[in-house]
């Protein structure tokens, strides 16, 4: 109390009455007063007859916790008459009973789930594979192009010593039935004398048949058969001379005439391509 007086020295004139009242230390600071606590008035629960009274019964302000000795300490808005939905139709039979051991049936339940996902993945992989295959195969050569890619030649129509020209993949194809003298001469050519050294046996699968692309390796003219200095082919454009094996012997061309891929199906049938 002293400290109170000391602190309020500047207002002591105004508090004289108070200091005088509490000067007696034996007395209580203030007399005991019974305070009338104002009870909160809660409106009675409305009778829920209309939508308006239903709305009035809903909580509209933030919920505050209230506690007292005798009263309820919580407000419950959940209704006990709402039934928990029955999910047993969606449950697997092994876990329908809530007291059953779930661990023993885990493998079969998970296995089933994985099987479903896995079979979906199998179907997806098949669909993806067919889709990719469809797109890739659309880029490959069509049947009409493939049909033109090969040519079949009946060899017994070509007499010995003759050169026959076919059209194959848009290019002239020479098939030459060589005589024994030509075969003999070409196989005895010295490789060191050639610009593009190649053995005659490497160029002709069967020595009597020579299959060539009739395109000069210089600038792409079509050589004339059975002419030139070496008895094979002669290109009239710039004067390249090829021998009876299609090898370049004289003139500006750098390489031998090209040999396409060809197979002898039987004695009288040749397939080029």
């Amino acid at each position: 109390m002293l400290s109170f007086v000391a602190r309020s020295a500047n207002v002591s004139s105004a508090t004289v009455a108070a200091t005088q009242t509490v000067a007696n230390g034996t007395k209580a600071l203030c007399p005991a007063v019974s305070i009338q606590i104002e009870r909160t008035l809660v409106p009675p629960a409305p009778q829920k007859l209309t939508t308006n009274s239903l709305t009035a019964s809903l909580p509209k302000t933030p919920i505050r916790a209230a506690a007292s000795l005798g009263g309820a300490i919580q407000v419950r808005f959940a209704h006990t008459d709402i039934q928990v939905p029955d999910f047993s139709a969606y449950r697997r039979s092994s876990v329908k009973d809530s007291t059953a051991d779930t661990r023993s049936s885990a493998a079969s339940r998970q296995g089933f789930s994985y099987l479903i996902v896995g079979s979906g993945a199998v179907g997806g992989a098949y669909a993806a594979k067919s889709l990719v295959g469809e797109f890739v195969s659309s880029m490959s050569a069509s049947a009409d192009v493939l049909a033109l890619a090969k040519i079949e030649v009946k060899l017994n129509d070509i007499p010995e010593g003759k050169n026959v020209t076919f059209k194959w993949r848009g290019k002239p194809l020479f098939i030459r039935h060589r005589t024994a003298a030509e075969i003999d001469a070409e196989s005895n050519v010295d490789l060191s004398s050639l610009r593009d050294p190649q053995l005659d046996s490497d160029r002709a699968q069967r020595p009597e048949w020579l299959v060539l692309l009739g395109v000069c390796t210089h600038l792409g003219c079509v050589p004339i058969a059975n002419s030139g200095d070496f008895g094979g082919y002669y290109c009239p454009c710039h004067g390249s001379h090829y021998d009876a094996s299609g090898r370049i012997r004289k003139g500006p061309a750098p390489l031998n005439l090209e040999i396409p891929i060809h197979t002898f199906v039987d004695e009288n049938t040749l397939v080029v391509g």
Partner: protein, 61 residues
């Protein structure tokens, strides 16, 4: 242990074997599915396909 549980423990449980099972499964599924749909197609179009009417046009061999 049921068949599915056995399968789960041996194959489906590890991602490596699971993926392998899917790939091999897809291989056999493709074969089976293609054959089945092909068969269904030729059943529905019986009598209209070239293999059914070929003998009318090609000389007997």
């Amino acid at each position: 242990m049921s068949l599915v549980a056995k399968l789960y423990n041996n194959v489906l449980r590890r991602s490596s074997t699971y993926a392998l099972a899917i790939v091999t499964g897809a291989f056999f599924f493709e074969r089976g599915f293609d054959m089945a749909t092909e068969h269904l197609y030729s059943e529905i179009n019986k009598g209209k396909l070239w293999k059914d009417i070929k003998h009318n046009y090609a000389p007997a061999e």
